[in-house]
Amino acid sequence: MSKKFRIIPRLEIKNNFLIKGMYMEGLKKIGNPVEYACKYSKENFHELFYEDIVASLYNRGLEIELVKKISDNINIPLTVCGGIQNLDQIKILFRSGADKICINSSLFKNLKLLNQASKVFGSQSVGVLIQYKKINENYEVFAESGRERTRIKLLDWINRVQSNGAGEIYLSSIDNDGVEKEIDFKILGEASNICSVPIHYGGNINNHEQINLLKKFNFSGALLSKSLHGKTFRTISKYL
């Protein structure tokens, strides 16, 4: 394979701070997101995933100035996620240095937005973030950073967003967010199997075995946060 498996630092942002939580709750401040973005770009990570974790919940737009500042300091692609509800916002984000955008919560009310966005901007720049959690024996999709249960099954939602123009899919496991707990690769394999667009996974990735499994299941990349910010994944450079 000539194409690289992408190692993607995930920058979760709340009120201009880089934060990290557990199970998407109990948020801790980590530092200045611009500094972290700059460092990851210099270290040749493959792209950055910027996620405003409260924009949608507070029903406000993204912090455009912060997006600009981050973009100004990096020379790798930037995906921006959080609170996106319409095409005008997307246009502003692209003009502020985002290379790709990613939509999550607003799609449960308005799936058409996905279709429209990928028609206008091309599906290669429109991704979908899917946050999921195991409830009894099923994997269900959640909105609003894991706060809102949708009762939609994970694989059903993957199919629906794909047929509505998603150019990439970013899976985020709430059960594994910020906690060292075994990842269920079985559901990831099933997810990847039904995917014809690039698919990525985030949630407790901190070692080579996990990355090799994701590669084996045809994932295109991994989102990493805690293990990078806290430097616990020491030998990550071999993938860069």
């Binding site: 194409k3 690289k4 992408r6 493959h46 020379n75 206008v120 901007f121 091309g122 599906s123 690039p198």
Partner: protein
């Protein structure tokens, strides 16, 4: 020597911010222009690349930039197309039934899926290795985000990338035209080198 002036053609969809960033880093003098009245008398032109072929051609026609680019090309000005910006230099594309390209170079744009019988992951997004025919020093990983590729005579092609064992065009060069299917503005230092070469042409 008088400092050269670069025009970034703004058709409302492109990734203007990141291209500006690269040019700023190289201390180039540039202007972002979205209508034909302001777009003449530059030394070089950049056609950015995010969006849909059909939408892009319609916008270029609407604001008079379609003819302007063609005229500037005929005058011998350097035109640099990036991703979609490169694709619109060709005759036509699978992405549009109604809109033809600028037709400055022979060849057409095809959907990558047409080249494979089995399932391939598309869009083609991420860092892929680019091999240059002559300037091997440039060989490196560059960032791609595309579902379409160009098909043209091998004389026009100056580098390739591979997908599932098949070779595709990564960049082109013909007379005063240059184009990359990848995005040099977000391809780290190796990408900046591409802009340097463009400025030195």
């Amino acid at each position: 020597m008088k400092k050269q002036k670069i025009c970034i053609v703004d058709y409302d969809l492109g990734n203007i911010f990141n291209i500006s960033k690269s040019l700023k880093k190289l201390n180039a003098s540039f202007k972002i222009v979205n209508n034909y009245k302001e777009a003449s008398n530059f030394d070089k032109y950049i056609l950015p690349g995010v969006g849909n072929f059909d939408a892009c051609m319609k916008i270029l026609k609407k604001n008079g930039l379609h003819d302007l680019i063609k005229n500037e090309y005929r005058k011998g000005k350097t035109i640099f197309g990036i991703c979609l910006g490169m694709q619109i230099l060709f005759e036509k594309s699978d992405e549009s039934k109604t809109q033809k390209g600028l037709n400055l170079i022979e060849g057409e744009i095809k959907h990558i899926r047409k080249y494979f019988e089995k399932k391939v992951t598309l869009p083609h997004i991420g860092w892929n290795k680019v091999n240059f025919d002559k300037n091997k020093k440039l060989n490196n990983y560059f960032y791609f985000a595309n579902s379409y590729v160009c098909e043209t005579s091998s004389n026009n092609i100056n580098s390739y990338f591979e997908l599932e064992g098949r070779k595709f065009t990564a960049s082109i060069e013909k007379e005063n035209l240059m184009g990359t299917q990848f995005h040099p503005e977000i391809s780290s230092n190796q990408g900046l080198q591409i802009y340097k070469n463009f400025l030195n042409l």
